[in-house]
Amino acid sequence: MNVIEIKNLTKIYNSSEVQVKAVNGISIDFKEGEFTAVVGPSGSGKTTFLNMLGGLDRPTSGDVIIGGVNIWQLSSRKLIDFRKNNIGFVFQSYNLIPVLTAGENVEFIMQLQGKPRKERDIRTKELLEAVGIGERIKARPSKLSGGQQQRVAVARALASKPEFILADEPTANLDSTSTTSLLELMSQMNKKYNTTFIFATHDQRVMDKARRIVTIEDGKILSDEYFDRD
């Protein structure tokens, strides 16, 4: 079953005299439970593609249809609600809210969803334990290592029970031990919750773990390959 359908997605940046096609008419589908790496060199359009996919950056043209909803036809307000309930984000520089503890960062999105306190507490604890930092629930991001912060970010992304998680260069700021452990964690989460993961990366270790690799260059899909990792 297709979770995401992308049709002829294009993003053009107009600088002073030059038009840059960051994403050039990409059409692709992602199925439920996929563990996909979108790869390509710097400036190939991976991040722009992911941002449009996640409803963060408006495309110049084309459609992003998630669960039958064309997200770029939604009002700004409905798009934010859509992101809240359907999309999880893991950013390169973690982007945790610095004044909140690890637990509060995870709980925050559930609070936005209006989940009751008890349910939030239980799920926060469960997710932080699942990502292996249950004991750091009360620690603020500044007291956590990069790897630990990214684990909190993964837990936060999973907290809203999204249909898919977009991770933009999630391992770029991590050492190799943290990277291996994070990839293992995300792979487990993918299997445990059947959540679709889409990574933008040029980290070989992520590619080695991905079951599908989409290669982008100059804003176009160069290749789309499936791998059996089990």
Binding site: D57, S76, I80, D81, R83, F91, F108, L112, R156, S160
Partner: protein, 348 residues
């Protein structure tokens, strides 16, 4: 405020004095804004001691009433203040030095009394007055009203009645009431009408104060603006994350508005807490002025001190203005929350 006759207003001679009637007393007693009043007989005379003589202003006063209205007693630097039935004098210090007299010495007053009769008498010096104004120190002699009326053969006659109201904010109301009740041949005048040059000086001082206040508000505005700009700039990524993961921009704007309000509130309240003890200290111990500023004030007959007020409205008006400024500046984070570009904000 002062009550005197219309003739005395035109020509300040003892012949234009008046007798304090029951009807006049009733008018004053019935005016709720008047808290204190005192009677005066004021005229000129020569003051002599041995072979020294000088023209002086003689003021007959009710010692107790005068002290309630003008706090005359606090200027006694030597000797004692007057009693109601006293027959002595309080002499301003420069005049006493000129006449070479001190407490216990005698002064001869010699001049013209009511309707041209001769006014002469010898009076002991009970005390020396030291005013902050050199002008006052040069020429003033105070004596009890009865004694003064005897000197000038002006029994029961007064040149003026001095009225005091609780606070200056009630002056215009009190003047309106009194002007409606005081009929010819009497008239009532406020201190503003009697001392226009002082009003001018106060207006000048107020304009300076307003300029300083405006300058301070501008500095405060930029201070708060800087803080808020910094707050938004430093938290751009955090705000971007909040919107990205599902917080509505309107909700975020409300949070930022509340945060800014509390920053303003905490600033205003802590400003009050820190400033009040300092202001209160200077309220109790007025700040002495020196140099040219002091000289100018002394020349105007005003004590060279900077007085601090602890009137509550001064404090809450400032706090309120700071809050208003803060809330006006809060428009910036609100606008920012609606215009924040997520992809830029998330990059930090």
């Amino acid at each position: 405020m002062q009550i005197f006759t219309e003739d005395y207003h035109e020509n300040k001679t003892i012949n234009n004095t008046f007798i304090y009637t029951d009807s006049l007393k009733q008018i004053i007693d019935n005016e709720p804004t008047i808290t204190q009043y005192t009677s005066r007989l004021e005229y000129f005379s020569l003051a002599s001691s041995e072979n020294l003589t000088k023209g002086s202003v003689i003021i007959g006063i009710d010692p107790e009433g005068e002290n309630k209205v003008t706090e005359l007693k606090k200027w006694v630097s030597e000797g004692n203040y007057l009693n109601k039935d006293d027959d002595g004098l309080l002499v301003a210090i420069d005049l006493a030095n000129y006449l070479n007299v001190g407490v216990g010495d005698s002064i001869v007053l010699y001049g013209q009394g009511f309707h041209g009769v001769m006014a002469a008498g010898i009076y002991p010096v009970r005390g020396i007055l030291k005013f902050p104004s050199p002008e006052l120190n040069k020429q003033f002699i105070y004596m009890p009203l009865k004694s003064c009326q005897r000197l000038f053969s002006a029994d029961n006659r007064l040149t003026s009645i001095v009225l005091m109201i609780e606070d200056n904010y009630q002056l215009s109301r009190a003047m309106r009431h009194m002007k409606g009740k005081i009929k010819s041949p009497f008239m009532v005048r406020s201190w503003e009408e009697l001392q226009p040059e002082l009003v001018q000086m106060i207006d000048g001082d107020k304009a300076g104060g307003l300029f300083m206040k405006t300058l301070l508000y501008i500095i405060i505005t930029f201070g708060i603006l800087g803080t808020i700009l910094m707050m938004v700039s430093e938290r751009k990524r955090e705000l971007g994350v909040m919107i990205a993961i599902g917080m509505q921009r309107f909700t975020l704007s409300k949070i930022l508005l509340a945060e800014t309000f509390f920053i303003g509130l905490i600033g205003a309240v802590s400003g009050l807490i820190v400033s009040f003890p300092l202001v209160y200290y200077y309220h109790l111990n007025p700040y002495p002025l020196t140099g040219d500023a002091a000289k100018t004030m002394i020349d105007m007959g005003i004590e060279p001190f900077m007085y601090f007020s602890i009137q509550p409205d001064i404090f809450y008006v400032q706090a309120f203005v700071v809050l208003i400024i803060t809330m006006a500046i809060a428009i910036y984070p609100v606008i920012k929350s609606f215009t924040l570009k997520l992809t830029t904000a998330l990059r930090g």
